[in-house]
């Protein structure tokens, strides 16, 4: 339905007199949704406020919604010894960029092939990919295979390959490809264009919003990944951001190393606020780009749900 028509009908709906039951419903709805929104924002507030609170205050009073005693100590420690965090940022950016670019090309190519109605094996191929969502080797054999036979231990490929291709993204991308008129492909063929040329000069340019949507899903997955790093990476220099945050969260070892880099005693390290400051640094980029990319995610989720 057209947007104006929709707005018009909403206006008409509003004019229908509000009955008591509607008033009750709206009242409950606004209160409930407002509370839910607060619940979703609260942890971020605690995180930011805690990262700016002095360690003394946290030790005696715990975390709060507002810095009881303002301090930038945690951040100054992070920026005094920035090698580690810059390194982790570097790893995260590297795997995110490479993984997203390669993953996008793979997904677009494959989606194009399985959307071609004249390709005899399109259903066989789709099933080949879909089957992996129904059945898989499980954690143990996958782990052993990746390490013993593919030699992925401590290899950056272990951070990139597992997330490169996803059936869910393939199906979303196919929906985008399906919306391109077949006549375009037919007429390009009549003009003598080869398959590769058709894909790169006709399909890809028309697939922009599909590429943006899937690209963002891929990028988010890579940016937030810590699981593969935990399983496969040994060298601390190769940790991506999220896993470094996790290791700081867990190990006093990692904290001790920071302390020695900055040249203070571990006991004097503001570990409570430092953890939160690290979380802020790791989450910051997402929260900053979020308002601009949100609509692509909403689109992707909606498309994905129509044909799951």
């Amino acid at each position: 339905m057209a947007a104006e028509e929709k707005a018009e009908s909403e206006d008409r709906m509003k004019k229908i007199k509000l009955s008591t039951s509607s008033k009750v419903f709206y009242g409950i709805s606004y209160v409930f949704l407002a509370l839910l929104a607060i619940t979703c924002l609260l942890p971020f507030l605690i995180m930011v406020s805690g990262s700016f609170t002095s360690e003394q205050w946290i030790r005696f009073n715990g975390y709060g919604l507002w810095p009881g005693e303002f301090s930038t100590e945690a951040y100054s420690i992070i920026f005094k010894a920035p090698q580690r965090i810059l390194k982790a940022y570097g790893v995260s950016i590297f795997i995110t960029v490479v993984g997203t670019a390669v993953g996008l090309i793979l997904t677009a190519l494959t989606a194009y092939v399985i959307s071609r109605k004249d390709f005899k094996y399109r259903n066989v191929l789709s099933f080949f990919f879909y089957f992996t969502t129904l059945f898989n080797g499980g954690m143990v054999s996958t782990y052993i295979f990746y390490i013993q036979y593919l030699h992925l231990k401590d290899n950056y490929l272990a951070l990139i390959l597992p997330g490169l291709f996803n059936v869910f993204y393939l199906l979303i991308m196919r929906t985008f490809v399906d919306s391109i008129p077949v006549a375009l492909i037919e007429s390009a063929k009549l003009d003598g264009a080869g398959e590769w040329r058709i894909f790169f000069t006709i399909i890809l340019p028309l697939l922009k919003s599909g590429l943006a949507t899937i690209g963002l899903f891929l990028a988010l997955g890579y940016w937030n990944d810590w699981y593969n790093a935990m399983l496969y990476m040994n060298t601390e220099d190769k940790y991506p951001l999220q896993y470094m945050l996790y290791s700081i969260q867990q190990q006093t070892q990692a904290l001790a190393r920071i302390a020695s880099q900055v040249g203070i005693q571990v006991a004097n390290l503001p570990s409570n606020s430092l953890k939160l400051a690290m979380a802020v640094v790791a989450t910051g980029p997402i929260v900053i780009v979020y308002p601009f990319v949100q609509k692509y995610f909403v689109k992707g989720i909606t498309v994905g749900s129509v044909k799951g």
Binding site: M1, M13, S21, P43, F119, V140, S141, F145, Q242, Y246
Partner: protein, 308 residues
């Protein structure tokens, strides 16, 4: 056979480029997903690293017997199923309620703001959520204990109170997914022609009647799809969530250990690989059987609702 081969080679000649386009993803999935499936045989072997997956000796059902006779097998199976059912019910119910409320309310900015904010948790890695949860519930500096102390109450050590964790896990699972799932339901609700709502309102239907007789039937297919998708994963614990919320906190294992966390810990500690392989084997196979049966039943009742 030769007929199949002939038609394959004909198709190959005709669509060489399409085969080439699909090849990278095909090879990737073959290596990363299908090859590890063969490792499931480990469940029936006593694995030795030096002999590899295929060289290790068979030991029949010994691994399974060991897994279930120790009681661990039953415990983690029970936990996995109960958590999945609880999380499925609460997260879908919350998402449906939120989607209905958001679709009904009129204040445009409030609507947009709420939708943006509740999708935010979806973008945050479980590592960061783990930081939040620790900040809220830990005994020394946690915010909740801080509030209890301030109110003159005896603080609770949540990390040694197993009974509270199903609630915490369930709440944070719903919290993380409410935005994502409600996008799906909102898409289904907006698909309904608003004239139907108008007509009903003019005929004197209250808002609750409209929701009951128009909105809910319209999202029934979506609800069924979402349930089916989750049922296919009923024996798979959300490893990232459980691991970041509970971690390696032994006191909580009886209440929170699921198949995936158990398997992971055993892998890390290099414990009995055969037994953990047995756990993942029966997880993979049972999940596959369950989704085939459930999908078959749904298909029999109404083919439109089936997943495949």
């Amino acid at each position: 056979m030769s007929r199949h081969f002939k038609s394959f080679s004909e198709e190959f000649k005709k669509h060489k480029a399409l085969f080439a386009m699909a090849a990278p993803a095909f090879v990737l999935v073959l290596i990363m997903q299908y090859l590890p499936m063969t490792g499931l045989v480990l469940a029936f072997k006593s694995y030795r690293y030096d002999k590899g997956v295929f060289g290790s000796a068979w030991n029949g059902f010994e691994n399974f017997r060991y897994l279930f006779s120790s009681g661990t097998g039953w415990l983690i199976t029970k936990n996995t199923i109960l958590y999945n059912l609880l999380n499925l019910f609460t997260s879908q119910l919350l998402a449906i309620i939120v989607a209905i409320m958001i679709s009904e309310i009129h204040l445009k900015y409030f609507k947009k703001f709420t939708q943006s904010v509740i999708l935010l948790p979806y973008f945050i890695s479980w590592v960061v959520v783990g930081v939040f949860i620790f900040g809220l519930f830990n005994y020394e500096t946690g915010m909740i204990d801080g509030i209890m102390k301030a109110a003159g109450q005896q603080p609770v050590n949540f990390y040694s109170t197993p009974a509270i964790w199903p609630v915490i896990i369930c709440v944070f699972n719903s919290w993380k997914w409410v935005g994502y799932n409600s996008v799906i339901y909102i898409a289904a609700i907006t698909g309904v022609d608003s004239e139907i709502h108008e007509a009903a309102a003019i005929d004197g239907a209250t808002i609750f009647q409209r929701i009951k007789y128009i909105t809910i039937p319209s999202i029934r297919p979506t609800i069924i799809t979402m349930i089916l998708l989750q049922v296919g994963r009923i024996l798979r614990g959300d490893f990232e969530m459980f691991y970041q919320i509970v971690g390696n906190n032994g006191q909580l294992f009886n209440a929170t250990d699921v198949i995936d966390t158990y398997v992971f810990r055993s892998l890390l500690q290099n414990a009995d690989i055969g037994m953990t392989a047995a756990a993942t084997f029966y997880q993979s196979v049972l999940c596959f059987v369950i989704i085939m049966i459930v999908n078959g039943i749904v298909k029999h009742i109404d083919a439109d609702y089936a997943l495949f």
